[in-house]
Symmetry: C2
Subunit: 390 residues, 2 copies
Amino acid sequence: MTTRGAAGWLPLSPGERAVAIEVLVHGPLSRSEIARRLNLSAGSLTRLTKPLIESGLLIEAAESGEGESAEVRQGRPSQPLDVVADSRSFIGFKITEDMVYGVVTTLRSDIVARHDRPLTTHTPAEVADLLAEMTEELTRSFPAPAGIGIGVGGRVEKRSIVAESAFLGWTDVPLAELVASRTGSPVVVENDVAALVEAETWFGAGRGLDRFVVLTIGAGIGYGLVLGGGRVASVEDGRGVGRRWIVNPYGPLTPEGERGSAISLLTIPSIRYQVRAATGEDLTYEEILARAAAGDPLPARVLDEAARALGTLVAQIANFAMPQKILLAGEGVGLVDVAGPALEETILTHRHPQADPVNLQTKVSDFHDWARGAAVLAIQVLVLGTGERR
Amino acid sequence: MTTRGAAGWLPLSPGERAVAIEVLVHGPLSRSEIARRLNLSAGSLTRLTKPLIESGLLIEAAESGEGESAEVRQGRPSQPLDVVADSRSFIGFKITEDMVYGVVTTLRSDIVARHDRPLTTHTPAEVADLLAEMTEELTRSFPAPAGIGIGVGGRVEKRSIVAESAFLGWTDVPLAELVASRTGSPVVVENDVAALVEAETWFGAGRGLDRFVVLTIGAGIGYGLVLGGGRVASVEDGRGVGRRWIVNPYGPLTPEGERGSAISLLTIPSIRYQVRAATGEDLTYEEILARAAAGDPLPARVLDEAARALGTLVAQIANFAMPQKILLAGEGVGLVDVAGPALEETILTHRHPQADPVNLQTKVSDFHDWARGAAVLAIQVLVLGTGERR
DNA sequence: TCATTTACTTTTGATGCGGAACAATCAAGG
DNA sequence: CCTTGATTGTTCCGCATCAAAAGTAAATGA
């Protein structure tokens, strides 16, 4: 097995794991607070926290200090527990066509170092060599990594094998094994969108939610549905979702995606293509946003149409999947700033008048966020033994 | 409390409840089979089943008899356990504008008697009187009902109060209390769609599934999303969902619903309205189906457009909510028989080419199915103590 | 100083589960 | 006919886990 169990930490009992995850995800918490959250008695918490503290995973945090401890309360002061975030470090990689982005994170998934390198070859062995080299450089000033997570666009099986990746030209590449043998660290490989979704579910916008959706816009469209704390896997994962999400049958026809599909309306290449086809100018996405903001009518029209498509999608997701929150992420969500009103208006048009307003959050992510997502997967799988679901 | 706990049966421990539900929902099962399904040891099953058998809820079923016991197997023969379906009876009502439909069911939710009565008044007290009378008549040849379930179109709160029902003109009517005081039986009131969804989740198309969707077409549109065995409640419940599900912005404008919405494209009144507006003839839904099947172009066109709208909806639900199965139910699903190919084609158009085919099931329901749904709710709440979720 | 409040620990008892040993009941094969 | 093996179900014991209760600790406020 490439991805063996908790490396270094003792295996956790279900109760211990629940406590560890609660503290890890929801910051420093006192024992009594954890007891309330997990519906356990105070006595159980003494029992469960003892081995966690002894093993070094948790620590009795220094009292919040002099700053200001919120309200002064009566009674014995509580003793917050916190994870020893720096006790282990994790490495996350995001592989794109021509670059590899790497980060080092703490147990809390805070990024403490970044390191990127151009990717000049797609040969599996050479890519693994590069990842091993980058691991070496990244860990120079940190303890040996407890785990390595790798995010790749494409289909990934068993969290270790890249079954199919078009932009790398890979089929059934056992990437986890290749990297693990070079670095000696356990490795988890996952589809990039899936990793980002898990990261947001644990540490980001979806923290503590039961139903949660992540929609990413960038070079393509990504969709992740989280139910009951776990991501729902589907066969379309990593196969370029959104090609057949026909939002507007009379919408534009672009090289990728069907006419009027989410891909042809929303992705960065499609928006650039539409502007280029109409004006002859080859503008970057940022330039298009800037021109639209400045009042240039053609870019504004393209972005307005995109925002309306996005609003339709968001409303449909809210109507049918009923998430408590929808996160818009990726490099291509800048259009929300420029065409926000059109987005809002379209959402309202497609929602029941008495329905709850859609809880929508926007987060422009860069490639280091994707790499961080991969690191979070390593935390989940390797430290806490959170296996795959169904 | 109107809806007090398990009337007659001892309160069940979580383990006992799990066993009871497993046997109730999945037919006769041997102890070892239950142990496998619930991941319990054989010893635990002896312990858990003993009180259930003693209390009369379960029984050691007579061996399947002479017929043919499938394959001959080695070893001690298994002893299937089954619920004593006839030990209690349940009553379910569905209230429409001018009729009340009533059924008597077994613990397994099999309908053993039906009785309908016209509804000539909408006064809460008189409706409750009628329900009490019908209960009296329905239980003449059956033991006293263990519980009564009532399904109403509209918003229902706390499974007892009709907060708002347009067609009855009701606001905050404590219907459960009114009926319970007249009959002496515990009463559960729920939105009709919600009740049907629960019934299908436990005993119907959604049995054993983790993610499941029910879409009903009739006088209106109904939508129910089941995740992890529980229905997701939403504020739109009972407020006429589908009015803002804009499927085709250039679709027909009907008296109800926005232009091109699911309501104006799919509901029976809208389809009849479209045919009437075009031909001047006031046809029933069944007549429209028959004419379209016979080749009459105008009804065929209306139904074709409806089927394409339905296909779009189904595909969107499959794309975004990712259920393992979608059930189409209600009085208005007959169009699937007439315009099935258009439905299939539209679904495929909106699905990823490599996605799993949509698991779609169609079930024409009559009003007794709705009443049965209400009875199932009584079974859930009163017998097994399955409370509300979130 | 002393009651009060809140947080945590220790002890105790109950519960529920898995596992081992055993009984029951069948088929297959000499 | 008897043995062997397979499968189901029962009984019993030990273990893990939890809640409840009682005790300890550390603060506030009068």
